[in-house]
Amino acid sequence: MKRTFVDLHLRPNLKDSAAIVRLIDKTAALDYRLVSVPTDPETSSGEIQKLRCICKNAGLDFVSRVDLRPRSQNELLTLLRKCRRKFEIICVLCENKEVARQAAKDRRVDLLNFPQTDYRNRFFDAAEAELASSGLAALEFDVKPLLLLEGPARVRLLSCLRREVQVARAFHVPIVVSSGVSEVVLLRKPREMAVLFSLVDLAGVYGLDAVSCNPLAIVKRNREKLCSKFVAPGIRVVKKGMNCEES
């Protein structure tokens, strides 16, 4: 069966419509079927609709995503309350340990993202992974720093990512690999993204799952929850009508 490839982290300049169209057209040409562009919590539904329309014209399915950058646990909870019903994907950029721990255990968080090059602030350790495995959060990695860094900086990034991949796999935390790019020239085919992550021991089927099955599962789960027919996990309204006794 052919895989559906997903890129949940395209980062075009939202003020430049031509750049957005270029990036999304290229993504479609590279065999992706589902894409997401992160927005702020304050982004209007009109802007999201515009992105959805661009993606539809390119033959792609658009997923609304918000990137939260809270400074404290309370701020995160407030933002989650505000955004959960509005967006299909919620990603938390964890810049301190307090936020990282809360994000990992909160079932409303879909993706955990850590600072790309600030290795001291990457808090994905065994404790974080244990919390994430009991919640629903997946760990997101971007390809962009792997492509742009060189020499000792890339060596350090690789060793850091390798350690995080080991921890995530030990605790069965799903891994999502996204591009995280804003320029067309840095976009890679899904299989190329997967093969790049073989450098950090995410080889073969695990790498392919990280660009297809894992992100797709998150999108499906959230779309089902946001659907008006959803009651609880496994329970949905099939038909509305009179009560059994009345009919």
Binding site: L147, L148, V185, R188, E192, S198, L199
Partner: protein, 109 residues
């Protein structure tokens, strides 16, 4: 002696500038050496089989055992001869004949 198995990779160069054959090959070798070092690069038995500057396509040959390393190196290329570029793998195959057939199929689709 055991026969060495090989794989052929058809590549598409995605850049505004058209690199010469030498620039392209230098860039591939630089990417492989940067990631895997000179020893790693020597294990790949990398060779450029065909280069079409107009169509911006190339065919590389590599050892089957190291073909994934070559794929990683190719994916890590961000510039060729100073200009921004990306190199995508179009098709991989065990024989040039099958590679050409699949390329033809891909181009006609």
């Amino acid at each position: 002696m055991k026969r060495v198995k090989r794989r052929y990779l058809a590549l598409q160069i995605d850049s505004a500038y058209v690199p010469s054959q030498k620039e392209f090959l230098d860039c591939i070798w630089a990417a492989v050496t940067k990631l895997y070092g000179e020893f790693g690069a020597s294990l790949t038995s990398l060779a450029l089989i065909d280069y079409d500057a107009e169509g911006r396509q190339a065919v590389l040959r590599a050892n089957l055992a190291t073909v994934d390393q070559v794929r990683v190196a190719v994916a890590s290329i961000t510039s060729i001869a100073g200009g921004e570029a990306a190199v995508h793998v179009l098709v991989a195959s065990g024989t040039i004949k099958a590679l050409n057939a699949r390329l033809k199929e891909l181009n006609s689709a």
